[in-house]
């Protein structure tokens, strides 16, 4: 494990070095750019708050993805599950406005988790029922989910006026508060940390987690051990879907306070990146998600201050994933 952690660290380092070369190539000073990222990500309480908010969806969805990957289920559908979760939260908040914030938020987040789980369940049903590879199912459902959200926003859920599709502002009771005044962050990060802690416990201390690990290591051994692969797939997918849906709900209630088209764009693949970078260990997904979240938060100030395009972040993420894959490969 130590050596794996070290190799993953090297993977990140290598990706950052490649990014530095790209920055230098475009005529900027890499150190200056990285300093801008650092200050944008953690230079002030507010910056740190932004980082934490950005970290939250990656952490929630990424822990769920890690759980699925452990069981050998390549679930790349977090994006669709986040989208549908956001749709669920917004619908609940708009359709059933209540006075009490506790009830409003509770109902909306519950709707988000259920909607995300349902979307993941649809993928599980097609995968198990019709033997279609889960990567293809979850991938195609991502596109369909995104279009479903757009359809909803173009129809009953939409509000006219903006240049893009969006819902009306949600009732105030459903807004996630920002209890840490200095940071300006919503409490989603706490939910994320709790979820990854819970999943870690589940993975290492429960029979369900043991079964997932056996199934991920060898399908034949799982059958021999009397484990039901369909049941495991259902369990892992529903859990991951619920967490991704929750992430979508928190984005909607905590950041946008309305449903916007494409709010989930790219989240799903980043959830995969974070899961890999965390070596598929839910607790280690916390620092991995924080790394990506801070990178994203810092990239905007890098673009502003130094003039290096913020899409550099995607380069770092892609390279980190590739190097992490190579580092985690056997031998």
């Amino acid at each position: 494990m130590n050596t794996l952690a070290f190799r993953l660290f090297l993977a990140v380092l290598l990706a950052v070095l490649c990014a530095a070369a790209l920055i230098a190539l475009s005529g900027h000073n890499p150190l200056e750019a990285f300093a801008a990222i650092a200050s944008g990500a953690a230079g002030s309480p507010h910056a740190l708050g932004v980082s934490l908010n950005k970290t939250t969806p990656y952490l929630l969805a990424g822990s769920g993805v890690a759980l699925c990957f452990r069981a050998g289920i390549i679930n790349i559908g977090a994006e669709g599950q986040i989208a549908i979760g956001g749709l669920g939260a917004a619908t609940a908040a708009l359709v059933w406005p209540v006075e009490s914030p506790v009830v409003a938020i509770g109902v909306a987040l519950l709707a988000a988790a259920l909607a995300g789980a349902a979307w993941a369940g649809l993928a599980a049903a097609i995968h198990l029922g019709r033997h279609v590879h889960e990567v293809l199912v979850t991938l195609l459902l991502n596109f369909i989910a995104m279009l479903l959200v757009q359809q909803a926003l173009a129809g009953a859920l939409g509000a006219p006026g903006a240049g893009f599709l969006q819902s009306p502002l949600l009732p105030r009771a459903a807004w996630l508060a920002h209890p840490f005044a200095e940071l300006g962050a919503h409490p989603g990060i706490l939910v994320g940390v709790a979820a990854s802690g819970g999943l870690s416990l589940l993975l290492w201390r429960s029979r369900f987690g043991f079964a997932l690990r056996v199934a991920g290591a060898s399908r034949q051994a799982a059958a021999y051990a009397g484990l039901s692969l369909p049941a495991l797939t259902w369990g892992a997918m529903l859990l991951a879907g619920a967490l991704a849906g929750l992430a979508g709900g928190i984005e909607v209630l905590g950041i946008h306070r309305r449903l916007i088209e494409g709010f989930s764009l790219g989240f799903g693949f980043k959830a995969v990146a974070v899961a890999l970078l965390g070596a598929l260990e839910p607790l280690a997904v916390v620092p991995a998600a924080l790394f990506v979240g801070m990178l994203e938060a810092g990239s905007l100030s890098m673009q502003r201050q130094v003039g290096v395009p913020s899409s550099l972040v995607a380069v770092i993420e892609g390279l980190t994933m590739l190097f992490a894959l190579a580092a985690m490969a056997r031998r």
Binding site: L22, I144, L147, R330
Partner: protein, 298 residues
């Protein structure tokens, strides 16, 4: 007539990418990286044509751009034996980032690239045929290339030693090794070639259809190409048929919109994805993958 022309137009980039994907998957490597390969090809084609003023240079750059992503996938998935699917996804993220970054690398703002889309090459005589002429024999060059590629790939896979070796590598790499071949090398080359061909598919978008490059302009077409080659059972002809079906679904949606029919455009845009999912679900277990796909070597 317009409808059929639109179908072919939409199917062309998909088909080129799918042909590349067939190379990769028949050699035993999942082609999830098609999206990134296409995007890199589209980017390289647009920038190189803009900088050089030559379409031919642009097409060469598309081949090279796609091949670079192919090389990355090949190194990580074949050389380091990482999970092929996740490697493909990572390459897609990288391609999206690096094309967007490089576009702005000079001064932080994207240059405005305006290219004249590749002109139609009417085939002498044939293009004047009634009905069939405009439909089949009056297209821009890369469309012909896609059709020719489909025929050439069928021949190459079935009739040449290299094609036989590639297919054998996807079925039983150990047997290839035992008969004196080098399965790892075959896979590496297949994935790089996949990248190059898919890069051409990207060039169709940027050079032939739009005339510029915008961030993430492939918009999921690589994934659709992947679905079409599976629906088409890993044969060029089957993939072509699937691409045409997806193209037709898309074209149909566009038509309905222009007629202002009540069906919402977003629901219609779902059609290709829903069709792909339905066909895959319909095929179920009978979709027989190359036996050794996804397995790493040794």
């Amino acid at each position: 007539m317009d409808f059929l022309a639109a179908t072919i137009r939409i199917a062309t980039p998909l088909l080129l990418a799918a042909l590349g994907g067939i190379l990769s998957e028949r050699a035993g490597v999942f082609a999830v990286g098609l999206e990134g390969m296409m995007l890199a090809g589209a980017f390289a084609a647009a920038v190189a044509t803009w900088a050089s003023g030559s379409d031919l240079v642009g097409i060469g750059a598309a081949l090279a751009g796609g091949a670079v992503i192919g090389l990355l996938v090949a190194l990580v998935a074949v050389r380091f034996r990482a999970d092929q699917m996740v490697t493909g996804l990572s390459a897609n993220i990288f391609a999206a980032g690096v094309t967007s970054y490089l576009l702005r690398a000079n001064g932080g703002r994207a240059p405005s690239i305006h290219l004249d889309p590749l002109a139609n090459w009417p085939v002498p005589w044939l293009a004047d045929l009634p009905v069939l002429g405009p439909l089949l024999f009056n297209h821009p060059p890369l469309t012909y290339l896609a059709a020719a590629g489909c025929v050439a790939l069928t021949w190459w896979l079935g009739r040449t030693q290299a094609g036989l070796t590639l297919r054998a590598t996807g079925e039983n790499p150990e047997a290839v090794f035992a008969s004196g071949g080098n399965p790892a090398r075959t896979r590496l080359l297949a994935v790089i070639a996949c990248g190059a061909v898919a890069g051409l598919g990207g060039a169709v978008l940027s050079l032939q259809q739009v005339g510029t490059f915008t961030d993430n302009m492939t918009g999921g077409r690589g994934y659709l190409a992947l679905a079409s080659l599976i629906v088409g059972r890993w044969t060029p002809a089957g993939a072509a048929a699937a691409c045409l079906v997806f193209g037709a679904a898309d074209a149909f949606g566009l038509r309905l919109q222009t007629f202002g029919l009540p069906a919402s455009s977003y629901v219609l845009q779902m059609a290709p994805y829903v069709i792909a999912l339905a066909v895959l679900a319909g095929l179920g277990r009978s979709a027989k993958l190359p036996a050794a796909i996804g397995q790493s070597l040794e």
